[in-house]
Each structure stands twice: as structure tokens, then as C-alpha cells.
Assembly symmetry: C2
Homo-oligomer: 330 residues x 2
Amino acid sequence: MIRVAIDAMGGDFGPEPLVAGIVAALESKKFSALLVGNSKIIKPLIPTNLLKYIEFIEASEAISMEDGATEALKRKESTIFKAVDLVKNGLADAVVSAGHSGATMSLATLRLGRLKGVSRPAIATLMPNSKSSSTLVLDVGANVDCKSEHLFQFAVMGEAYAKEILKRNTPKIGLLSNGEEKSKGNEVSKEAYELISKLDNFTGNAEGGQVFDGSVDVVVCDGFIGNILLKTSEGVAEAITKIIKQEVKRSPMAIAGSVLMKKVFSRLKKQISYDEYGGAPLLGVNGCVIISHGKSNAKAMKNAIFQAINFADSNINKVIEQELSKHIKS
Amino acid sequence: MIRVAIDAMGGDFGPEPLVAGIVAALESKKFSALLVGNSKIIKPLIPTNLLKYIEFIEASEAISMEDGATEALKRKESTIFKAVDLVKNGLADAVVSAGHSGATMSLATLRLGRLKGVSRPAIATLMPNSKSSSTLVLDVGANVDCKSEHLFQFAVMGEAYAKEILKRNTPKIGLLSNGEEKSKGNEVSKEAYELISKLDNFTGNAEGGQVFDGSVDVVVCDGFIGNILLKTSEGVAEAITKIIKQEVKRSPMAIAGSVLMKKVFSRLKKQISYDEYGGAPLLGVNGCVIISHGKSNAKAMKNAIFQAINFADSNINKVIEQELSKHIKS
């Protein structure tokens, strides 16, 4: 049984939604849950019949969003520190945290170490596309200044995730750029283009829109741009929703129409909301780490746990090391 | 009367929609139109009562999308070259082109020269936001690798455009970054933050979503990221439209609902479509240049011409030079 360490206190809304997600996950899949936090608060939230799958690890401190990531490294009594160390010490197979993402990333990188051949771990995220599928984008925030070799490593890690976890045998890898033509790009991306060309599944430059039309499976970029892409897409979706709501209010006919279209909008909302996708895997560290959205609801938490189980159950880290060693040799 | 030189042959769909836009513009505003292209093709498309406002300038060549921008510089018989040179020679006050945007930009920069204090002209574009207004984003493609001083110049130019053309007295200027906090950013953007802080209207870092919520008036970024932001936003809007259409088809009730909501969707479409905004001003060159979308329809062309007229009628280029000279002195 896969053992998942979970920071049960992190997240913007406290332990309730997180624990609700853990309970939902345990109800549909058997795994061993190691809940890190204050058991006095967490335990009462769990149905007694599920307690046999759960172990409580006491941790008194929570790292708040105001804390710096480097400061977090010293906080040995914090939930994130203890959860990560369960993986480090071989007591858990994976870790999930909806707490301070910078702290989770730094702690995971420093305590678990990097995979062989990886200079910088990357945060990957699944974005919904119009083909009822999803596109993996990485990096979305871990590394703001990247060199071409980092982007190459992200491509290798993204390809491995697409193959091993998403089960896409020949995933199309695109390099985010300001045009599809090979001549497009900035200094770093043009260099990266040459490096990533070594991968059979590389399909060339991808424009911003290709993240959402399903024409590629993996999109590679640095974390500065990845964050902007993520926030831009959320912003556009919110603006469209807001405009529709404002316009609907202007006419009784439109209000009636919106009632009839309720299911359409709820399906759309489901398709584009992050909670369907769980969390963001941190790729390149020597372990399985899922970084969840600070605003995770129960469903997001449940899906993040399933992601962690799939991750721990896969060969992805071995595949990443093998792939990278091939290209270092050549 | 303002004299606008227009490349009447460029654009993906040939002269018809462009000339239709010119005709529509002339029908609601009086200006002198200098149409560059093959008059044998263009003239028959124009109602005789408007011919008195039009002068035809023959140009035999069109620069195709396959041509390189540098090659275009040598093509003296091309429509774009001739249209830009009308401004250079004082025969026109502004130029509008829906042709090869790279060629338009290079020709405008080299033939008209840069404003004093500007190292690199930038393409600015208006993006719709949920406050029924628009946000100016620059650069969206002219400069892929930027230094902090270039971003500072973009901020000054964007502020001048917002004041002089959009008539916003105290426009909020944001620097696109991976978080709102001052500590966020990559190497170049952090340096730029310090420089742009000299501007009174600078409100700090802006996230991708802020382009669409109306919390800032001007968003500054390099052209690589600007292009990605633009294409991302178009891609998200298209994906949402596609998902709604797919979902509507699944139920007769939803189809009925969508009929009742028809006006809402057409208003949404109007609010987010680029043709309402015309073209993209090229800021920083010694003249008034509007670069239109290659896929411009008549409405987009009409609005681009109005933009050109407003631009030519304003003091923006003088204001940019004055602002920049202040900061060079200090």
C-alpha cells in the first residue's frame, strides 16, 4: 500500500477542506495516509472507520504565506518540513502539500535532493484544453531565470511525465515561443530549440494558444513566463465569466437562456477549473512531491492525492535519470 | 485635414476588406486618404462620391508573409515602403498597414527614425478587460530580448499613450511579473522595477490576470512575453467558445438557452474581439504608425484609421521625448 505524507494544516482555508479531501480519497482508494499536523484538530474530522488507514504525525508549526522560503528551511517543527522528511527517511512514498509552495519546493529540493542530471526541479501543471484533455506546462514558477539547458531538462521531465503518468506514448513536446517558425524566439529559447531537437517527440515552437487547443501535450517555458501564462489564462476565463454574467443581467430573456444553459456552464466550469487536476507535480527531485493550490477544496485535495499515488506507483524518476544520462553521454 | 497613408494591398484577405474599411471610415469622418497599391484594383471598390478625399499612389509589389523583414527594406516599390515614405517625406501625417508587420516595423523604424531617447520602438496593443474598458500592453512583439532600460522606455511610452490618446489622466502602470510583490520577477524585470519606480503612476508588479480585470491601464513587458500573453488570451477565449459550443450541442434545452442568450454572446464577442480596437500603434518612431492585424476586416481597418487620426492629432511623440529627456538628465 502506497504511503502518502500529507501536510494537513497548510492551505489557505485551514485543515477542514484538506481533511475532507483526504477522507474522500480514502473512500475510493486504499492507501496509507500520514497526516502531519495537530492531531487534536485533525482527528475529529475523520470518520472512525477510516482511522485504520491513517497515522498522525505531530507538528506544531505552520509556515505562513508571509514567511520567506529560505526561512522555512530552518523550521524543523513545521508541517511541511516534517512531511517532506517522511519521504526523505523512507517512511512515506510521496508527499502532498497545499501550504507555502515556495517552502515546499525548497524543502523538497534540499531535503530529498535532485535527480541525477537535473540542475533545477520544475513545477509542472496540467491545463485544460478544448480537446477535452489537458496540456502539461512546465515550469510554472520554480525558476524565473533559466538557461537553455534547464529548458532542455524540463522538456525531458515533461516528456517522462506525459508518458509514465498521463500514458501518452508519443507526447508532442512544444517550446513556448513568440511564433511557430524555428526562427522565432528569444536568445535562450533559440538555444533551447537546438538542444530539445534531440528529443524525438519535439514538435518545435508552440505559441501561447497551443496550450489550449490540444495540438501539443507538453509545453516548455521558464517559470517566469509559465506563471504569467497561468495567471493570464485564469484572468481571461474570469473576465469572460464576468462579462457573460453582466450581459445576462441586462435582459430577462437572457436570464431564461442562462437557466436553460446551466448545465453547459457547470460543465465548462468543471472542465476549466484546477480542482479537477489536483496539484502540480514537482519534477526533478528525488521523490514524489505534489504541490497543491493554496485554495484547494476537498476535490482538489482528493485529486492531488491520486496524483501522488500514481506518481509513486510509476517509474518516472528512473526514466528521467535514464533519459538525461543518454543526452549527457552523447 | 489629416492625411493618412494606407497600404491598401497588404492583409491576408487582399484589398477588399481594407478598402471597405477605408470607405466606412470616410463615411463617418473626413480625412485625406492616400491609398498605396494598384489603383486599377482599388479604385473600382470606392463609391465615386468619396473619390475627392482619396489620392492613389501606385506601388507594384506587395511584401508577402514569407518574406523576411530585412529583405523588405530593399523593396522600394512595395506598398509598405511607399506608404511609410509618404510620412517620411511629409506628404502624410500617419500610416496604416495590415501587411507584413515585421516589415512595417523595420521600415518605419529605419525610414522615419526613432524618437529622441528611445532605443527600441515597441508595438502596443489594447486588450479588452472586464471593466468594459481596455488595457494597453507593450511590447507585444517588436523586441524579444529586452534590457531593463528598454522596459523603462516602454513604460514611458505606454503612459504617454494612455494620457494623450486614451485620455486617462493618471494611468496605472504595471510591470508584468510572476507575482505582485516587489521581490518577484526575473533579473531583468527586477532591474526594470527600480527604473520604472521613477514614474509617479507606477503601481508595481502586475500579474497576468491583471491585464483583464481593469486594475491597471498599462502593462509593460518584453515582446517575447507580450506575444505569448496575446496568443494565450486568444487561445483561452477560443477554447472556452469551443467548449460552450460542444456542450450546447449535447442538449436541446441548452440549444434553446443559447438562442435566448444570442445577444449576450454577440456582445461578449464584440467586447473581446480585436476588430473593435483597430490596430496596434508602433510607439517610439518619429511618426504615427498603426500596424493592423493581417486578418483585419472592414471594421478593424476603420478603427485602425481612426486610431491613426487620433495619433496624428495628438502630442504623444513630443510628450514621449520630453518625459524621456527628464529621466536622462536626472
